[in-house]
Symmetry: C2
DNA sequence: ATACCACGGTTTGCATGCAATAATGTCCGG
DNA sequence: CCGGACATTATTGCATGCAAACCGTGGTAT
């Protein structure tokens, strides 16, 4: 039950490779919740759920406890767990919150990181992304590559901030699948203004690297904040076009 | 195991009034961890710990799981839990992070809250605090009252933000006892510049209310951020004067 | 001397079953 | 016909005990 790297959020792991029953239960249940398998507010009874998941109640309970901390279920003592409902405000705010924390991370990186050569990885990741976007049309395959690089980029900024607390805070926000920086990228790929959005992202990244390099903390911070707003544009666009299907975790939104 | 109101952080509850074994275990263990009862990195073996706490391993395990999410213990699968070590950077960053989130809350309150009469509670809480500080010397008793009002004030700003996500984020940060807005107040009471710091706090609050009232989001945000820095001043001062004892959770800091 | 493996004790992970509490249905009085 | 007390069922909370994974030790082969 370790989340090894930031932004490699839990949704990427598959239940099959779980090392323990409680981990399998956690992964499967989280997936079920994200898929909207439960009605909002629906009570999750332990015995039937355990039978369905093929685990006993003890690991199931541990899984529910974790998911409660991650915000997927609510808990009332001696009255069990209920599926959590999210609304648009939750998504918007979660994205903004991520922006604020990533903003702090970028600022810390700018203010604290001294050695230029430490920026090599960040710069190289940025270059690869810029290359992808520069070279003609993005295929689905290239988008997957972009997504991986994007996760790397965000993780590297976080690493450069050197702050465990920021890391923790971001981990906890990105538990919500729709709050992660990659949440909307597959959908963005389908958007009419797709190309523009990817280009804007890359330009944001470029400027962030530059700001960190020149120790421009305030600039780095506001850039990272604004960068997160692309996700909100995608959210609005997805809502308008009813293309929520491409976005992980958006099935369980109350409209 | 519900945290009903924000800022009424877990440390206030006593293990005696726990309704379940796992809750009692959580409260007791958290207290033990905060008191520095374990060496940093020390492995927490379930059987002896359970015996010491007078509960069985199942509720203890649930407690450990929760504390892992709160950041007090680390976990490695099949290798148990270990006591977490904190350092000065963790505290500083946690305080800054709180400032950032409270800043967002203040901004949201300014940008979203429309009706003036909704500010009545906030204003009244602020007035009471101002009164306390205005009327001569703060006794220990008055400081306790101040602390309660301070929690109320911060909770009210959060409430006015209307954001569940911010609430969640703040709850999670304030799990760390030294990150809460009240963490340093008892210590601040003992500081030579005590009076000035309380006055400064009240002035911050006044300005925050004003900014919210006039919909000055950016101002509200930066005020709330700066307001949190008072805690960092207290931290530095406590470090310099070696008066860490007055600050909850500062026994477990590696210097 | 070092690397490897076998093995015993220790510790975690989990399934089962029981007790206590909450939800639900039933019956009776108004 | 409706509301409240009580009985019944359903559901959570937990203790016990067992099995598997892990760690350290010692012995053996290279």
């Amino acid at each position: 039950m370790k989340r090894t790297t930031p932004y490699s959020s839990p949704n990427t792991a598959t239940p099959d490779q779980a090392t323990s029953q409680s981990e399998r239960a956690t992964l499967t249940l989280r997936e079920m919740l994200v898929q909207g398998r439960f009605l909002p507010g629906e009570r999750l009874r332990e015995v039937p759920l355990a039978k369905e998941l093929g685990v006993s109640r003890i690991p199931l309970r541990l899984a529910l406890e974790r998911l409660a901390h991650e915000g997927f279920v609510d808990t009332r003592p001696t009255r069990g767990f209920t599926a959590r409902q999210f609304d648009i405000a939750d998504i918007s705010d979660a994205i903004d919150l991520r922006g604020a924390i990533e903003g702090m991370a970028a600022r810390f990186a700018a203010e604290r990181n001294v050695r230029t050569e430490e920026l090599a990885t960040l710069r190289s990741t940025h270059e690869k992304m810029a290359e992808l976007v520069r070279n003609g049309k993005l295929t689905l395959e290239l988008v997957s590559e972009y997504i991986a690089l994007n996760a790397e980029f965000h993780a590297e900024v976080l690493r450069l901030s050197g702050s465990r607390q920021l890391q923790r805070a971001l981990d906890q926000i990105c538990c919500l699948p729709f709050a992660s920086p990659n949440a909307f990228l597959r959908r963005q790929y389908l958007a009419p203004e797709s190309r523009d959005l990817f280009q804007m992202s890359v330009e944001h990244h470029r400027a962030i690297v530059e700001a960190i390099e020149f120790r421009e903390g305030a600039r780095a911070e506001s850039l990272a904040r604004e960068h997160a707003r692309i996700a909100r544009r995608n959210l609005e666009s997805a809502l308008a076009n009813k293309t929520l299907g491409e976005v992980p975790g958006l099935q369980l939104i109350k409209l």
